[in-house]
Every structure is written in structure tokens, then in C-alpha cells.
């Protein structure tokens, strides 16, 4: 039985936990970072990074297939899944190495093993008691399923989907949210037949309805099938495939079923309840400054109700480290955090959807402009269609930006500044954007909603 003592103990070294540790050490605190798996967590090892590698391989496949459109002769010879795996693993390995080096360079003590909260100031890891004046809970999330839907065999989650050593012929995807559509997009580019099943009325249902509709049109055009507004009833599997039955009586046959119905908080049996931390359905409840009900115990990342995104985890981790150090950082609401759906097409959004803005301010108080990428030279050149929709308060700030089209995820930073700084479109209008870029489409949308469209009516 030994003891290690730090200013700060962080339980879980995923996006939220390691960001907290890095920032705290920068601010002069000693940090014990407890991790039972690999530092980097879900995002680095089985989330953001490897999926984007698959999506890039998918893009390469599509570019190759369509090269003749651009005057390039090429023959597409298929997906070499072993090659994809080597590439994907190399990307992850290299980022992992970089992160380990960074954590070490910052002088953070990493403690390997499964931790359990034993008091407001201590975490037990095997026979080591790790104590600290402050403890941050950052244990992350796992792929959820539905009641009665067991994972196993041909019924898989994103983790198995990532690591498949073959390209399936036909896949059923349960869930049309971010993770479901990302895998659907990859598989389609790899040549798979895909059917998505979504209980809500639309794919990417958290987006502005105009974006969801455009997304559905794009997926339909790509030959990705989907059934929306219909509930899963059950699944049977045998040697050769699965049969998914829906509440409306339809069935979908496929080689595999990917369950992508969301992620639950990984908080069971970690002592949180025993120490008295207030929880709700497994999530750890906090105030807007990420304090739990127990003084000195904080929570960040996917275990805190709200958006489950890596950069929200980073932001929360940094926030808590600064709060502990007394810097009084500013709170950024979830609605003002950028969201990117990485697929073909991409979706990127921040701020209020039109519907939410109407709910908040009334229909008469808001204005929207929907710029069609058909008018954007660079988008035409790279062969993408899409839209940039801006929502503003009339005579007021930009409330939301909603984009769809290839590569639009890269444009969200500008929208992030505009929305968070409550810029008026008129503030942006004097600065004509670089021509010809896709970024210009955002500029055109801001110009238009400021009442002075350039290349638009």
C-alpha cells in the first residue's frame, strides 16, 4: 500500500483528462494522470483520428474513381484493406507517440491502472492511493446499445467497425447521427451497400433542418439508402448475415449491423456514487463551471451531459485547470462549440439553428440566408455542391452558421469567432474573402445577410 500525492488528480487520460493535465502542469500544478488503457482515450485510438483516416482513404478512392471528370486517366483497382489498416494504424501510432512525449515533457506523472474514487481527494489504483486537493473525473464513454440489442458476432459497434479486415458487401447501420453517417460514408466509398435506420425523422437530426435535408439528398445521390422515422424492433443473425426487423414490419438484410445509437458515460462502479457525487443516468452532473456537488471534485468530457466531442473535452479540461489555478476562465456554452460531421458531404455548424433561433427570439426577430455553393467557384472546381446558411438576429449578431459540402469543416473556425464574439454580419462585410476559395462562400453568405450580396441576388 503506497501513496502518491499531487495538487491535481485526473482520472482518465482521454481528450478531457489529458487536456486538463497538460494545462494544469503549465500552470505549475503537480498532476497525477490515471489511465487504465492508452493515453489519448477514445478520440485518438478508436474515435476521431482513425475514423478520419478511413474517411481520407474513402476520399482517395472516390477521387481515383472519378478522375476522368478532371482529365486524369486512372483505373481504380479496389480497396486494399490491409493497406488501409497500415495507414490508419500509422497515423494513430504517430499521434500517440507525440502525446506520450508531450505528457512526459510537461512533467506529468502518468499512473497506469484502473482507478476508483474513494474520497473527494483520493483515487485508488491497485494498491496505490493517489491523492490530490482537486480531482477531475474524465472517464469518458462507451458505445451504447438499445435494450435487448446485444453486441456480438455480426452486430458490432464503431470499435469493431474500425478494425474490420474486409470490406463488407452490405451493412445495416442503426443510427443516422455523426458516427453512423461517417461509417456509412466510408463504406459506400469502399463499394459497400449501406442502409441506415434512424428513429428520428431525419439523418444528422441535430443539425438545422435545411442541412439535414441537403444531407439526405446527397446521401441518396451517392446510393446510400436510409429509413428515417422508423424504429428498430429486433435482429437475428446467422453464419452469413443479419436480418434487422423494424417496428413498421419491414426488414433489412445485411452482412453486418453497426449499432451507432450514441455513447453512454463510462462511470459504473468507479465509486462516484459512493463518494456522493450527484449523477443522472450515469452522467456526472456539474454546474456551468464544471463543479460536481462535492467541493474539489470536477468532471469533464463525455461524462458531462451535452455534446460529446473531443474539442469540448479539451476546452473543459483547460477550463477546469484554469479555474483551479484561479484564472476565472470564461464559460463557452455547448451551443457555441463547433460541430463537424466528417463524411462526404461534410457538415459543420455552430450556434443556433433557425428553429432554435425562432424559438428563442421569435420568427420576426431573426433573418436567415442560405448561400448555395453552386455560386462558389472553388466548390464547382472540386466538384462539390452544398450550402452555407447563416442565421442572424435582425439588426443583431450572427446566431448560427450551418454548412454542408466537401471540406466545409475547415471553414468553421471563422464562424466560431463570429458567433462567439457576437459579430454582426456588417462587421465582417468590409473584409472581402480570398478568391477563389470555399471560404469565400462564407464571406458571400455574411455579405448577403448584411444586405449586400456580391455574387448573389
Amino acid at each position: 500500500m503506497s501513496e502518491q500525492n499531487f495538487d491535481l488528480v485526473v482520472l482518465g487520460a482521454g481528450s478531457g483528462g489529458y487536456a486538463a493535465a497538460l494545462r494544469a502542469s503549465q500552470l505549475g500544478l503537480t498532476v497525477g494522470l490515471i489511465e487504465k488503457g492508452k493515453v489519448g482515450g477514445t478520440c485518438l485510438h478508436v474515435g476521431c483520428i482513425p475514423t478520419k483516416a478511413l474517411l481520407h482513404a474513402a476520399e482517395v478512392a472516390d477521387v481515383t474513381r472519378e478522375s476522368a471528370k478532371y482529365g486524369v486517366s486512372a483505373t481504380f483497382g479496389g480497396i486494399d484493406i490491409a493497406g488501409v489498416t497500415t495507414y490508419r494504424e500509422e497515423v494513430v501510432a504517430s499521434k500517440w507517440k507525440g502525446l506520450q512525449g508531450l505528457i512526459k515533457a510537461r512533467g506529468i506523472t502518468t499512473i497506469e491502472g484502473e482507478g476508483r474514487l474513494t474520497s473527494p481527494t483520493s483515487v485508488q489504483v491497485g494498491d496505490v492511493t493517489v491523492t490530490g486537493k482537486n480531482v477531475i473525473l474524465a472517464t469518458g464513454s462507451y458505445s451504447r446499445s438499445l435494450p435487448g440489442l446485444e453486441i456480438g458476432g455480426r452486430v458490432i459497434t464503431s470499435e469493431q467497425a474500425l478494425a474490420l479486415d474486409f470490406v463488407p458487401k452490405k451493412v445495416a447501420v442503426l443510427g443516422g447521427g455523426v458516427i453512423g453517417v461517417e461509417f456509412s460514408s466510408v463504406w459506400r466509398s469502399f463499394g459497400t451497400e449501406v442502409t441506415i435506420i434512424e428513429a428520428l425523422p431525419n439523418l444528422v437530426p441535430n443539425e438545422d433542418i435545411a442541412i439535414s435535408k441537403a444531407f439526405e439528398r446527397a446521401f441518396r445521390k451517392r446510393g446510400i439508402e436510409f429509413k428515417t422515422g422508423v424504429r428498430f424492433a429486433g435482429v437475428t443473425q446467422n453464419e452469413s448475415g443479419v436480418v434487422v426487423s423494424l417496428e413498421n414490419g419491414e426488414t433489412v438484410e445485411a452482412e453486418l449491423l453497426l449499432v451507432a445509437v450514441g455513447r453512454g458515460p463510462a462511470t459504473a462502479n468507479l465509486g462516484f456514487e459512493e463518494v456522493g457525487v450527484t449523477m443522472d443516468r450515469g452522467f456526472v452532473l456539474t454546474d456551468e463551471r464544471l463543479r460536481t456537488n462535492i467541493p474539489g471534485v470536477w468532471a469533464v468530457g463525455d461524462i458531462v451531459p451535452g455534446l460529446q466531442l473531443a474539442h469540448r473535452g479539451f476546452q473543459q479540461g483547460i477550463f477546469v485547470a484554469e479555474e483551479i489555478a484561479g484564472l476565472n476562465p470564461i464559460v463557452v456554452d455547448d451551443v457555441n462549440i463547433p460541430k463537424v460531421t466528417y463524411s462526404d458531404p461534410e457538415v459543420a455548424s455552430i450556434g443556433l439553428t433557425e428553429a432554435k433561433a425562432v424559438e428563442k427570439f421569435g420568427a420576426d426577430a431573426i433573418a436567415t440566408y442560405d448561400y448555395n455553393l453552386a455560386g462558389n467557384g472553388k466548390s464547382h472546381i472540386i466538384g462539390t455542391s452544398g450550402n452555407v446558411k447563416v442565421v442572424r438576429q435582425k439588426d443583431g449578431p450572427v446566431l448560427g452558421v450551418h454548412m454542408i459540402g466537401a471540406r466545409v469543416g475547415e471553414l468553421i473556425g471563422e464562424a466560431q469567432l463570429a458567433v462567439n464574439w457576437e459579430a454582426y454580419p456588417e462587421d465582417i462585410a468590409p473584409y472581402i474573402h480570398a478568391h477563389p476559395t470555399q471560404n469565400e462562400a462564407l464571406g458571400e453568405a455574411f455579405l448577403a445577410i448584411a444586405g449586400k450580396p456580391l455574387h448573389g441576388i
Binding site: N328, I330, D395, G396, W421, E422, Y424, D427, A429, A450
Partner: protein, 60 residues
């Protein structure tokens, strides 16, 4: 006012509002912010300028 890490030694505001203040000839340092954390808001600047213009450029 609580320490605001974003803006060392400055009256807290946002960049577009600072640009607006300069354009309207309003000295931000002279204002008391009415926003969160004492943030000087666009409304504060416009009030100080005696103006109700919606933004820095007049439009159609």
C-alpha cells in the same frame, strides 16, 4: 470585477466591438461594461456614441 484571462490589462470586450468603438470615436477604457464579467457590449459603445446604428457600415 473578476479577473478575465482573455484580455490582460484591457477593458474586456470583443474584437468587433473594439473596432466599432474606434470607428465611432468611443474610448473603451472610459466605459463601464454592462455585459457578463463587465464586458463592454456593443450597446454600451453605441450608447456612448449616442448612436443606434446596427453596425459599422451603413447598409441599404
Amino acid at each position: 470585477r473578476p479577473v478575465d484571462e482573455r484580455r490582460p490589462e484591457r477593458q474586456p470586450s470583443t474584437p468587433p466591438v473594439r473596432v466599432l468603438a474606434r470607428r465611432l470615436g468611443v474610448d473603451l477604457e472610459s466605459l463601464t461594461g454592462t455585459g457578463e464579467h463587465g464586458l463592454v457590449t456593443r450597446a454600451d459603445v453605441e450608447a456612448a456614441a449616442g448612436s443606434v446604428a446596427p453596425g459599422p457600415t451603413a447598409t441599404t
